[in-house]
């Protein structure tokens, strides 16, 4: 078989060199005309794509950090609660501020009502270590357990407790003569309760408990029409957008939201905006018009801010970035070649993935419906760079309608 193949190959090569075809259609003028037109410059990619993405995400990360650091979600509740309880607890502490012996500085030192031995079996509140000394009355001895939350710790051991105020002095009056009582200090046992073990949050009202907006994690189903256009050109028939989003509330007013949309976008563009680097066109062709649609997955990452909050409704401003993962692009081209206009239809599957190429801005109106929340969200999407196989600067606008359901 192999020698036969070699013979055949040789014969084919001879045939290809000498076969009698008429080489007609030579037209030097066409070639000369094409040679006079400047050749298209090769497109070089700049190497700053990754850096740009990071720079775009940075403001959101910064905002999230600042909000989490300075406006933490419900962090003030614990302090408010203890502050409210302190005056009630210090019934025997005449004057919560005393001048510590040997110290010229007035410090907020508690005078315990009784020795530690007397306090066995009675309830005490314990602050976490990092909170002590901040509120001025962080360890509270309460002669009565009435009105105190269940979260308070109970002193369990009763042996060899020294004078209780030694501990206070050691902690809050460093200039005091507590060194003389050091042996006694060794016998003092301080029972500490882990911070996480204390349920310091007050009992929420029924309204607050059921408010879906106060839940940290939620799920949203959204759908709506979508209108797309390229650089303010002609509008095509509306497409649509359907998706599911997951949200996380990390501060009282701030949330971050992401998920997955399935989008259909219809659009039209002149050939000037359609880049032909990734498509195959006949040489010396110029695209005049493109009309088509694309189906894609969209991954949005948005930061949301509760601008107005009412008991049953809210207004939320949202901004973020979207990534387009093209699944199918279908185009009808009109292109010109040697002064003749041709039409061609092509489709491309999974031709491009444009990460963080779209900026989202939206305002959502939310209305509470039982445990769920109805959402009406008009949006605008502006391109940060071209998307799809033709790198079209595709803008979109539309209205999303959906339901939000709390998860946790």
């Amino acid at each position: 078989m192999q020698p036969l193949n070699h013979d055949m190959d040789e014969l084919m090569r001879k045939a290809a060199a000498d076969y009698p075809v008429k080489p007609q259609g030579a037209d030097w003028q066409k070639v000369a005309q094409q040679l006079q037109t400047p050749s298209p410059e090769p497109v070089t990619k700049k190497g700053y794509g990754g850096l740009k993405k990071l720079l775009l995400i940075f403001p959101f990360l910064l905002a999230a950090f600042v909000c989490d650091r300075y406006f933490p979600y419900q962090r003030g509740v614990f302090e408010k609660h203890t502050a409210a309880k302190v005056p009630q607890a210090n019934t025997n502490g005449e004057g919560s501020k005393t001048k510590a012996p040997g110290s010229s500085v007035t410090r907020p030192v508690l005078q315990p009502a009784a020795s530690a031995t007397e306090m066995v079996g009675k309830q005490l509140t314990f602050m976490p270590h990092d909170k002590r000394g901040q509120t001025g009355g962080d360890i509270t001895a309460a002669p009565s357990t009435k009105g105190l939350p269940k979260s308070m710790g109970v002193l369990k051991s009763s042996e060899n407790y020294g004078p209780a105020n030694v501990e206070w002095k050691r902690r809050y009056a460093p200039g005091a003569d507590y060194l003389a009582t050091a042996p006694v200090l060794q016998k003092v046992h301080v029972v500490t309760v882990p911070y996480n073990g204390i349920n310091n949050t007050p009992k929420k009202s029924t309204t607050e408990k059921n408010n879906p907006r106060l839940k940290k994690l939620y799920l949203t189903l959204l759908a709506g029409p979508d209108i797309s256009r390229v650089k303010g050109q002609r509008l095509e028939a509306p497409g649509y957008s359907v998706g599911v989003l997951f949200g996380y509330r990390f501060a009282k007013h701030w949330l971050v939201e992401s998920g997955l949309y399935w989008d259909r976008k219809n659009y039209y563009s002149k050939g000037d905006y359609f880049k032909t680097d990734k498509i195959y066109l006949p040489y010396n062709s110029k695209i005049l018009e493109v009309e088509g649609y694309c189906d894609m997955f969209e991954i949005p990452v948005n930061a949301r801010f509760y601008a107005v909050q009412k008991p049953r409704s809210a207004l939320v401003v949202s901004a973020g970035l979207s990534s387009y993962l093209m699944q199918k692009e279908d185009y009808t081209y009109a292109y010109e070649r040697y002064n003749t206009v041709y039409s061609s239809t092509k489709y491309y599957r999974k031709a491009s993935k444009d990460w963080f190429s779209i900026a989202n801005i939206s305002v959502a109106y939310e209305q509470r419906l039982g445990r769920s929340t109805f959402r009406l969200e008009p949006y605008i999407k502006r391109p940060l760079r071209g998307v799809g196989i033709g790198a079209l600067p595709l803008s979109s606008a539309g209205v999303l309608v959906g339901l939000t359901h709390p998860i946790r």
């Binding site: 036969l4 193949n5 013979d7 055949m8 190959d9 014969l11 084919m12 090569r13 001879k14 045939a15 290809a16 060199a17 000498d18 076969y19 009698p20 075809v21 008429k22 080489p23 007609q24 259609g25 030579a26 037209d27 030097w28 066409k30 070639v31 000369a32 094409q34 040679l35 050749s39 195959y280 066109l281 006949p282 040489y283 010396n284 070649r337 040697y338």
Partner: protein, 184 residues
């Protein structure tokens, strides 16, 4: 060639006219439609003149064979681009007799007739098979180069070549049962 590199239109025209027939024969093997071949050949020449400064065979003794090889490569690439543009869609309709030269006046008329038949059969292959067959058997590309150019795997390229050869052998056996052309 020096004049062509210097963008001298007269030199370019001379080279174009001298090698047009050679280029045409290459492209016609790939492009089924006769009327589309001139456009592809012209596109190939535009590419050639624009990139002639990169031709390394200038001034050497065997410059012409190198130039012919260079033209062949450019024409094949241009033809493949055209095929890819049409997604390697098979063409319908036959090849009119008017595209062939009259061979009866030549000394080697029988051989030319045979060559014409062979090329007609190659052109009747599906574009994906025909492109691989042309590139590998006639134009001397490797399977790796073919795979890269056509956007297929090396395995697909080999498979297409095998099928193309089998297809041609079958046709030639039917056409010339007693011809004895190397026992094809």
């Amino acid at each position: 060639l020096t004049g062509c590199i210097a963008a001298d239109a007269k030199c370019q025209k001379l080279l174009y006219e001298q090698y047009y027939g050679y280029a045409f024969r290459i492209v016609f093997r790939y492009i089924y439609r006769y009327e589309r071949v001139p456009d592809v050949v012209n596109d190939g020449f535009v590419k050639l003149f624009r990139n002639l400064h990169a031709f390394t065979g200038l001034g050497q003794e065997e410059a012409e064979p190198q130039l012919l090889g260079w033209i062949r490569k450019i024409m094949v690439n241009t033809a493949i681009d055209e095929l890819r543009r049409t997604n390697l869609m098979p063409e319908i309709g036959g090849i009119p007799d008017t595209v062939w030269e009259e061979t009866s006046t030549y000394d080697n008329a029988d051989a030319l007739l045979l060559y014409k038949e062979l090329i007609s059969h190659v052109k009747s292959l599906p574009p994906s098979y025909g492109a691989v067959f042309n590139m590998y058997v006639i134009d001397g590309f490797s399977h790796q180069e073919i795979a890269k150019q056509l956007g297929i795997s090396v395995g697909t390229s080999k498979s297409n070549l095998f099928k193309a050869k089998a297809y041609l052998q079958n046709i030639l056996k039917k056409d010339t049962p007693t011809a004895g052309i190397c026992n094809l």
